[in-house]
Symmetry: C2
Subunit: 411 residues, 2 copies
């Protein structure tokens, strides 16, 4: 087993820098190179490395040159959504284990290319879906595996995040979301909620998603926001833009074993942040407000425990009682990092599995393509007004596949 | 204008008795006859009338005989869902104003029969959807009409009511829900949430529902419940039953003006009661937990008011501030009645509009059929695996139709 990893980080925007910070604090990981199209971002990354007492990573604007010149043992891909697949394929071909940031794909062929390249090269590919390692998500998974929910029947989730400021900001800064919202109409960011749900429903491991339908609302949120909230210069840059992306996209998915999944994209209207994570079984409901509601087997008829959120939130108590092993360890050695610890955890899952020499990663290429494909499938469903079939990226292997248990990170 | 109404109540089960109670307290309404297939229910209704100091209504087991022999000026139909249309049509043909309880219809032809008969006879038909007169629903409608939500983009709702006890109880008592859950798979009870949503979205009044898709989960909740919770005798009656009705049915609806509606039926798994009423506009969100979240126009960028439910519920405060005229009146003269006052209000809406001699009722036949049709359309969508078109029951008239404002009850 290797003791240390030399890695590169490709893509140094908001997300790339967010990942770089916890990585630079890991003693067994050396960031030897960084890459971004913008020189100022490279300098920012180097400055941060220096500040945290690490060796200065070499900077590249061309990722192919980086791969050519550096001898790296893993790569973190955190560029814009559009380039994820191209860079992942290139690195896999070169035998460099890939940790790829999340996002959806607009073209289902990208999914197949990832699967085919992985199957050909056997280069490890990990999908860095941090929410799979969320405290509540893992506690819920733990409780599902212990049978506390009975049979799970239905799950819900969403990416409910008011991004109006960030998206409209794209007219002034370099954020790529603006372009997405002008040119596409789909469930453009499904993985934060679908990742944890897929783990709970054993997707690609005895179960699979079989069909999907999406319906989109009109697109008025961004235009109203611009008109009401921005300054004159900013309004001028945006006022004539017609956004294709509907404000709300609702998507329903049916699974082979009979479960339904309901997710929604909700990013251009006022709202508090929520992933709307909900798991509903024959014996328990976990709802997004952080409450568990369950049958009490010791009493008969109408015997339920429910502590309404108005009075008391029992989610925290239950998350503690059924804390996942990963969080037990993490709570003992807490590391400051982004998104309440999830970023740190998903990175450790990747690095430790690569260090231990595993080929199959905890969130593998089949997970990644199944979750990302929702973007392309939802666009097709909205455009054609039909329910669309879900491809089986495992080519039938899901029937026999089980979760590998190489280490604690395999959930 | 008439001063009093002589009426009959047809259907004296749980719901019929629930409506009879507040009606018997109304001085301007005389219940002269009641009808039910079961003699013991008739006696129960007569007993209640006596107890509340009213004249004893005559009892009938055949509603046609009742209509023949009694001279009634309005009828309340509160029998099982299946008989609503048959009795409504019969009474309309006889010129007796109909107040019909809610439920879905399994056959879209029933909807057309109601429309055609109404258009031919011009007999008033009112749909007794009590939730349209709910305190929060009306406050929300009030705020929408005042423009506080900006443009409304999306609404959500559900009938989320753990009925496992009631449904499985049908094996011992006479509740008809059991049969429904054995024989059908659909959104079987859409109107409690769709009524208030339709009013907010001006459905049949400048807007209409154009397409619908439903996806159903497997049906395991009732079987698990029976096995886990009932006594031996009861289990024996139910253990071999295969339920057709999925535990969760998710339905998405697209409106002509670009809004989306997401509703769910959730009645056979453990959960607290909720109608999940959610209204999302470009300036405000009202969410099911009873919180309003809104843009604050006095500040720029990221300036929102949000008081999370964990700390404080601002729904009550907003409902008071923007109380609908109907609730202002009601709060001054509160009358004890079912479902927090809604039953009383919807009955008054019907009786007062009939007393005033109006032909078009506050919740009219086009409202009723549009909302009830969701049951038939969802069954078709689930069965065929397709998105289905929504009929326009107004035959194009929705484009010009406006809400009549004959009195305060027309919302």
């Amino acid at each position: 087993m290797k003791k240390t990893l030399s890695i590169a980080v490709i893509g140094l925007g908001q997300r790339g820098m967010g990942l770089l910070r916890p990585i630079l604090r890991m003693k067994d990981v050396n960031v030897v190179a960084v890459c971004d199209s913008y020189q100022d971002r490279i300098e920012q990354a180097q400055k941060l490395s220096k500040k945290l007492g690490r060796d200065l990573p070499r900077g590249y604007v061309d990722y192919k040159e980086l791969v050519e010149k550096e001898s790296i043992e893993a790569v973190i891909i955190s560029c814009s959504w559009k380039c994820h697949t191209e860079i992942s394929l290139y690195c896999m071909e070169k035998g460099i284990p890939v940790g790829c940031e999340v996002g959806g794909v607009h073209d289902i062929n990208e999914c197949w290319a990832l699967v085919n390249t992985y199957e050909k090269t056997q280069t490890p590919y990990m999908f860095l879906e941090n929410c799979c390692y969320g405290e509540y998500e893992l506690a819920c998974l733990n409780m599902v595996k212990k049978g506390l929910f009975g049979k799970v029947v239905s799950c819900e989730g969403g990416y409910k995040h008011d991004l109006r400021d960030e998206i409209s900001g794209g007219a002034l800064n370099r954020h790529y979301r603006l372009e997405e919202y002008i040119n596409s109409n789909c469930e453009n960011y499904p993985t934060h909620e679908i990742g944890p749900i897929a783990k709970i429903l054993d997707i690609n491991r005895g179960n699979r998603m079989v069909e999907l339908v999406s319906i989109s609302s009109k697109a008025v949120g961004l235009n109203e926001y611009v008109k009401d909230n921005l300054d004159k210069e900013h309004i001028k840059k945006l006022e004539d833009i017609v956004f294709k992306q509907g404000d709300i996209v609702n998507t329903l998915i049916k699974c082979e074993n009979g479960e339904t999944i309901s997710i929604s994209l909700d990013t251009t209207l006022p709202r508090p942040y929520s992933r709307g994570f909900t798991v509903h079984g024959t014996r328990m409901l976990y709802s997004e407000e952080g409450n568990y509601y369950f049958d009490d087997k010791n009493k008969l008829h109408k015997a339920f425990h429910w502590i309404p959120s108005k009075f008391f939130n029992n989610g925290r108590k239950m998350a503690r009682k059924y804390r996942h092993e990963i969080w037990k360890n993490f709570k003992r050695h807490p590391v400051k990092s982004g998104h309440g610890g999830m970023d740190y955890l998903v990175l450790r899952a990747f690095f430790e599995s690569v260090l231990q020499g595993h080929k199959v990663m905890p969130l593998d290429v089949y997970d990644a393509v199944t979750w990302m494909a929702i973007t392309a499938l939802s666009a097709k469903s909205i455009e054609t007004g039909t329910i669309v079939e879900f491809p089986d990226f495992t080519r039938g292997a899901y029937k026999e596949r089980k979760t590998e248990k190489f280490n604690v990170w395999y959930i």
